[in-house]
Symmetry: C2
Subunit: 248 residues, 2 copies
DNA sequence: CGCCCTGTTGAAACAGATCAACGGAGGTGG
DNA sequence: CCACCTCCGTTGATCTGTTTCAACAGGGCG
């Protein structure tokens, strides 16, 4: 996933800390580094009034909900998943602080998936019509927004590549490395972190079964590539994992 | 794929015919139905000057090419694919008339995949900086553009769902139905069409092998769900195929 | 304490990959 | 125009990774 990403992700800027200002939302943080005036930043603050708390297992939105807001994650983790005709559901991604949720809904004016909190979380509501109005007056913000949507597309393509090409152990290694990069980008450890999702959820996301994930964790642990304790993970050898993902 | 899509795709409008005007590009077609003034349409024409012909197997762009243009397909079919460290490549999608190529590159200012023509094709170059400048002056066009990017995201998610969840025969049925819907949206037959790609390419896209695709074609033909003659396909029972995709 | 949910591990079954052989279509050159 | 070649597609036999089924362990919580 975010392994060899040769490009500057728009996300790091997104999570830059703003200490001085009462910034209501990390959307503001995104926009700070791109040279906005105070007036423009204030406008941004004005449209992003609501903070919303979502408890663990709570739904931020559901499939087919009418599309009104985008949501920027302030704290916590989410999963997005789709439910098909026979009730089976598939997790399309795990989102963390600084990510923008709901972009898939702009097209059809309805949400195309469910977004559920993996832990007690908090988001900023961004009314999309207001945002679009604001964007057209601030070209640099408009551009940044396009980059974020584009980044989402690029990410999804990368995930598809892995679902289609890799064997179970490679997928799982890629999954761990992806989390690693994302935590690193957010200023956390790249090697020690907690899985916020169950084995079952990981398996579902990767198109595998929870048994397979469990076996892989045991196997990786035995080989000495990782330490595992419940959901506590330590990656002992990022390079080897990377090699596994890339190698045939 | 586009099976139960309960939403209005932004694409049909895209391919609406414009008979009266010398519209240089189908991008203009997209924008006609959304109530633009002649002046605004002219502006659009101005930024979309170049038509470009791409021969069969020719590359429209390659991974890591600097991002300058988006490309709207006028005629023909393309595939987009990524190449990983060990040289393996994975097809992330097949594109046809009216689709916009290159949106994955906005984020990192470089193309994240290769786009290659499956047959002699023609595209319109849309310089992105010009487009963005134009968009900010025409809110309705801006909105339409956001819908297109969003649609791309929604599509990719749907494809991921299928890669992760479905068995081989279901994936392949979904693939056929997806083509069916897309041709129908473009005013062609939903049941008779030509596969523009090889078995190998289909297999690669679906995360299977060409042998499996071949077997599935034979099997579907034997059951009486389809007729096949080389790349000529006739879907004899859309509903059954749909049931297969949905059914467990 | 006992229940339920999550995670682990083993053994058997199966879907799809791999290996291999062959047929046919289309293009090229004699 | 035919012979040849190559690429693409088909089909069969075998092999393997992953799923499925099943049993059990541990932790959290009422």
């Amino acid at each position: 996933m975010g392994n060899t990403t040769p490009f500057t992700s728009p996300l790091p800027a997104f999570v830059a800390k703003v200490s001085s200002h009462c910034g209501t939302c990390n959307l503001r943080d995104l926009c700070l580094p791109i040279g906005l005036t105070d007036a423009e930043l204030d406008k941004l603050d004005q449209i992003v009034k609501h903070r919303k708390r979502i408890p663990r297992d709570g739904a931020l939105y559901r499939m087919n909900d009418p599309f009104v807001n985008l949501y920027a994650i302030r704290v916590g983790h989410f999963k997005t998943f789709q439910v098909n005709a026979n009730g089976a559901h598939h997790i399309s991604g795990f989102q963390m602080t600084g990510q923008l949720l709901g972009m898939e809904a702009i097209s059809a004016y309805r949400h195309q998936c469910n977004a559920v909190a993996l832990e007690d979380s908090e988001v900023c509501e961004v009314p999309f019509t207001d945002l679009e109005r604001l964007l057209k007056d601030v070209p640099v913000m408009l551009h940044q927004f396009h980059r974020m949507m584009s980044h989402e597309i690029a990410q999804d393509r990368h995930a598809m590549l892995q679902l289609g090409n890799l064997r179970a152990e490679q997928r799982f290694a890629a999954f761990l490395l992806n989390l690693s990069v994302r935590y690193k980008n957010r200023g956390y450890s790249a090697t020690n972190f907690q899985l916020r999702m169950s084995r079952e959820e990981i398996a579902n996301f990767l198109g595998l079964t929870n048994e397979t994930i469990s076996r892989l964790l045991s196997q990786f642990k035995k080989i000495g590539w990782i330490k595992v304790n419940n959901r506590e993970i330590e990656l002992l050898n990022l390079l080897t994992l990377q090699t596994l993902v890339e190698g045939k």
